[in-house]
């Protein structure tokens, strides 16, 4: 079982990277980090029923397991290079394994990412992926580098994945193009790798939005020892989200829904124009949603300028 899965992915992903000195098939892979580069390494696990709903297709699971990890590299401004996959499966179903391999490889290919190691075991469906990327010393985007006065930006639109999950849970009709779009945002997140690379040298702090904007911006604030003020009216929301959910629900999804895998980053005034132009060229755009202030809290203001109370923010778990 082990080699059939791993080999199926390997066959479909980058061959012949000359930094892979020895790939799958021995006790360990042998890899060469290019001179003058540091290695960025991240690991994330997806468990069925926790990180993706039961019934998610094998291909979507394979894609997402890699996507959430590439998103971590994106948030560091690192160039993806290699991955390892630890897969636990209840039984060896060839079509399921083939689907997983297909989804994983579809995302890996454009990045020339090489699968260099893997392990397959029997048990409840769980995928742990480790990704390795390269970043020049001192150029990584850290959570800890936000400065008071920075503008806070996010890429793309927020809340789509949480709305997609709601629709899946409601067994919504996904032949509706808008519902299909939101569910696709849940199942096939597109890690913002190109945006992360473009932000090197321009953004101060950066994080990817996996737990929800308020939680993840809160991580930037905690690491940087600053606060943040967000204007709810500035949150970028897709037309599909605004069509299918009312303003309050879509705002809550945008503030505290997780799984969007957009980047949240802070930029000092002199770089704002360059960042906006650069990300517009990449097609994902970047929206200014607030600013970094002194303090230690993330506060959210509504369109009338009133601070929202925690119970209206949908993120009580995060503290006030």
């Amino acid at each position: 079982m082990e080699f059939s899965l791993i080999d199926r992915i390997r066959e479909r992903t980058a061959q012949g990277r000359d930094d892979v000195r020895l790939g799958i098939g021995d006790d360990a892979a042998l890899l060469a980090v290019p001179a003058g580069q540091e290695l960025a390494v991240a690991i994330d696990t997806l468990v069925e029923g926790v990180h993706f709903p039961q019934g998610t297709s094998a291909a979507d699971i394979g894609w997402k397991a890699l996507a959430v990890n590439l998103s971590d590299l994106a948030a560091m401004g690192a160039t993806p290079a290699w991955a390892l996959l630890a897969l636990t499966l209840p039984h060896a179903d060839p079509s399921f394994i083939d689907g997983l391999a297909t989804g994983f490889a579809q995302l890996a290919q454009p990045y020339r990412l090489a699968l260099v190691g893997g392990d397959t075991t029997r048990g409840a469906l769980t995928l742990s992926v480790v990704v390795h990327g390269f970043v020049p010393p001192g150029k990584a985007l850290l959570r800890s580098a936000a400065q008071v006065g920075d503008s806070v930006f996010v890429t793309g639109t927020l809340g789509d994945a949480a709305a997609g999950l709601k629709l899946v849970q409601q067994h919504a009709n996904d032949t509706d193009a808008r519902a299909g779009y939101l569910i696709d945002r849940l199942n096939r997140p597109a890690p913002r790798v190109a945006a992360g690379l473009a932000l090197r040298g321009y953004a101060n702090a950066c994080i990817d939005i996996s737990d929800g904007l308020l939680a993840d911006l809160g991580h930037i604030c905690a690491s940087s020892k600053v606060g943040a003020e967000i204007d709810a009216s500035l949150l970028p929301r897709s037309s599909a989200l605004l069509d299918l959910f009312d303003d309050a629900a879509s705002r809550d999804f945008a503030l505290s829904g997780g799984d969007d895998y957009e980047l949240c980053f802070t930029v000092s005034a002199q770089h704002v124009a360059a960042v906006q132009a650069s990300l517009a060229r990449l097609g994902c755009g970047a929206t200014r949603i607030g600013r970094i202030v002194e303090g230690d809290r993330v506060r959210v203001r509504d369109a009338a300028g009133q601070w929202l109370e925690p119970e209206h923010r949908g993120w009580d778990h995060f503290g006030a």
Copy 2:
């Protein structure tokens, strides 16, 4: 939950490795591979009830999850440096987490291994560990480098872990020192890192024995396109194993029991004396058990010089 576990391990493992530029706490770790070294990377997963029996102590689980991975680095002749841990747990039990952290750290400390990343999720008890080590280019010990005429060696003794598992399954009295020894060999395997380093430049092929001698030596043969002949009478067996099990059972454990995490390696005639002296100094010893021949099979001879039939080898799954 996530940070409490990961932090507990981090607190107890190497701080201040200057090749860890950024450790746990951001989207990815930032690491610097020393100039002139390649990176060896391996991943292995342990699932409760599959890779360790239910009832195994948390500390033993934490130790073993790291040990099986360090054993992969040992088999490559790599120096351990960094690890990441993905842990899936049914519920957050502080004493269990503390035990895991203790066992993991006990093994990590002597290697100055730094935990640089982790992820904790909820689900059936599963641990995936990724280890990174260093090896000079061209010096790694590969499965594919066995030569006809090489002697086949193993470190330590074989069959102890499989015997230990049998005793656990039989609810044996582990106050018997011999039973305790065998169960400890199952729960606390000592990866042969120093032996792997000592073999660089001397051994041709090397693998660690996780699936059992015959299966793992079979991997060397398949990768190297050679065969092997083993003398069952030469298999190193501990006195505890020989005391508690009869000759046939202990031979089967030694041939096909997994989980020993000893090294199996091949050495050309001119290096045999140097290897034996070197591993004797390390205290694990090395026993010559057979030789590499032309062909594609692993064959086993009994003390009378008769080839054992597959049904007597206990490794039918491996093919004849």
